[in-house]
Symmetry: C2
Subunit: 237 residues, 2 copies
DNA sequence: ACAAAAGTGTTACGGTTACACCCATGC
DNA sequence: GCATGGGTGTAACCGTAACACTTTTGT
């Protein structure tokens, strides 16, 4: 007979409660104007038909990271996605069916690269963060936490590029950061700041789709960026 | 018969894996010189006798916050402790006995207020963060994450006071922040910075224990601090 | 009188912000 | 030739960092 008292030498885990552990993913994308999140219509009760984050349960042989990766692949078809753990949510009644704790991860994907088939298959949809519908359970709170985390992270590390195509214009980059922080930057200050960080390369190509003059394309340079201290964005808040 | 497929309308949770969910607490204290953490000698196998964070398992009817609060009360005798969730750790083999996921919380306590009896009872001990022994499982990693989180938080919110007695001198406050970031600040710059934040009150009392001249005591003013924008500490890094 | 810690103000520097005009091109 | 978005530099401002001497009082 093993002790239930943690401070006895014979203590074992046998009498401890086990719970369901879920992973929910806040998938961010950027369409050139707005910061968006990918939501799905929940396919089963309770709350069937309501909008929800994508998620799933942790399996015994997985880490949370593995589970999040699996879920992201399932719903987007993508691998190698930038991901960060946000928080673990544990209100007792957060899921009315059964006690479920959920760890939230946010992910950054290029909105044009993921599988359109899967979007259809799961009745998924992109919503601007500011115009998203109310979500089931505590998913709204998860989105808020993820957004806060994304803003902090993007201020000190060059993660924004995961949301853009490989080649992008200075204007796209600026619009992205404006979307992330819901603010406007001065064009000249923005360019100066970015250039001073020495983390993107100017290409000889131009994007001719948005103006007659065309605008230069840039590319993120992961090598360079490793050797740089990224300074916080603090432009005209 | 319920479906195991999350996208069938009849899906139920019945077939999902359940796991043990633990809470581990990084309890920070400050002795006037060093930032310290409270560790205990683990009382049962595996790793019996090794140093460990204080922790326990989540019970079905608790939130993680409730569990962390319970654990803190158990090991310190204290309530109403400043606490923040750090991260959830889920490596498959992190606990060799059984699959256990653990959410880490850090807590800030006044090192002189907690129960000395409990310290004895649990063979607990305070260690300077920089001189702590190796800990069991992934607890070293937890401490590193907690420290990073504490540093970030303390840079933008007035949480340091939880580590000090109610009345403290400017020098104590400075030493505290120096300990948190393992750095030195200029005395004059520090005082100017703190005073500009308008969050502590100067008292008429002096602490005569550390010098012949004595040094003024200050007190944190929670009311004032709510109305202030705390500016990041960026003093002589 | 002197040792030991407390207390205090000014200047230099560097990064952030504000700001306006010319360029290239397709129509 | 003109409309449209792209591209560029400089000066003011403000917070941070550097820096040294006087005060108090117990011994």
């Amino acid at each position: 007979m093993n002790s239930e008292n943690r401070h006895d030498i014979t203590y074992r885990y046998d009498n401890e409660d086990k719970v369901l552990l879920a992973v929910d993913c806040i998938i961010f994308g950027f369409d050139g104007e707005d910061l968006k999140i990918l939501l799905i219509k929940r396919g089963f009760e309770p709350e069937q038909g309501k909008w929800s984050l994508v998620g799933g349960f942790l399996k015994k042989e997985e880490t949370l990271e593995t589970a999040a990766t699996r879920i992201l692949r399932l719903y987007t078809g993508l691998d190698n996605i930038y991901m960060e753990q946000v928080d673990t949510f544990s209100e007792v009644d957060r899921d009315p069916v059964e006690r479920t704790i959920s760890t939230a991860y946010y992910a950054l994907i290029n909105i044009n690269e993921h599988s359109k088939n899967l979007i259809q298959q799961f009745s998924a949809n992109w919503f601007s963060v500011s115009k998203a519908p109310h979500l089931i359970f505590d998913h709204d709170k998860m989105v808020q936490h993820a957004l806060r985390r994304l803003r902090n992270r993007a201020a000190t590390e060059p993660i924004g590029f995961d949301l853009l195509p490989e080649k992008f214009t200075m204007r796209q980059l600026q619009k992205l950061y404006e979307a992330i922080w819901d603010t406007k930057f001065d064009k000249r200050n923005f360019v100066n700041k970015i250039n001073s960080q020495n983390i993107i390369d100017k290409l000889d190509e131009k994007d001719m789709t948005t103006s007659r003059k065309g605008s230069y394309l840039y590319q993120f340079n992961a090598e360079k960026s490793k050797t740089q201290d990224i300074r916080p964005f603090g432009l005209k808040i």
